[in-house]
Amino acid sequence: MTDELYENFFLRIYNYARYRCQSEQEAEDLTSCIFEKLYKKFNTYNPNKASLEVWVFVIARSVTVDFFRWKKFRALFPFTTVQEETLVSRQDNPAEKLEQAAAEKQLQEVLQILSAQEREILNLHYYQHLKQAEIATIMNLTQSNVGVILHRAVKKIKTKFGNVYEE
């Protein structure tokens, strides 16, 4: 069952971590910590209380908070970009890889101007496709508060990158 959990949630958890971390290595560490906790806590999951994905992200959030506290990072730590070299192999589709690398660079630039909370909410909304009510449960906020933060974050992106992106 835990293998199934890993297969189903790896990419989602990795991205959740990647939205919060400065570098790939850090995101990988955090992903590993989150899955470690998920494996340990899996027998405590109660489907009557919440859906599996909400439960997973509640755990992920709690581990992330501990992770940053332990690493002496602040939640609003500036999201400075650490450029990783993108190796383009001839076997894998190089054009596709370059396109993905360019998109990731753009995404990093956008995330850089946002606070940790905004990044987290944007990830849960746009990448994880969770409803605002579910995000509110995970983040321990009210639904309207989530909506306001989401709106402000998008507005912030539009103000800064209005010439590149539209809503």
Binding site: Y6, F10, L11, Y14, N15, R18, Y19, E24, A27, E28, T31, S32, F35, E36, Y39, E84, T86, Q100, A103, E104, Q106, L107, V110, L122, N123, Y126, Y127, H129, V154, I157, K158, V164, Y165, E166, E167
Partner: protein
Amino acid sequence: MKNNKNTISALLSRGFEPKNNAKVRIKTVLEQKIAAPKFNLRTALVLGSILLFVGLGIYTKNTETEYLGPNAAYSIVDNNYLTAQNFGESGPRGLETNPNYIHFR
């Protein structure tokens, strides 16, 4: 006219792609972590602190001087404190005439 702008939602929903076979690598690390005996730094620190405080407590208990109250007097001759109880309710005041005792107020 064609709009060349990307949408914010498209950008944000695209996400990051794990590189260098991260999925397998993380799983291997995870399996090692679960298999390895767990050393919990936090538990070690808490236990260490408790032991330190208990040790300090025992050490202080063994070395501290008992407070005998405001009427206690120190005997130079006996090199010891004399308590009020030793000399009745009036305290060591009666000793003032005795040059062997220094009376602290």
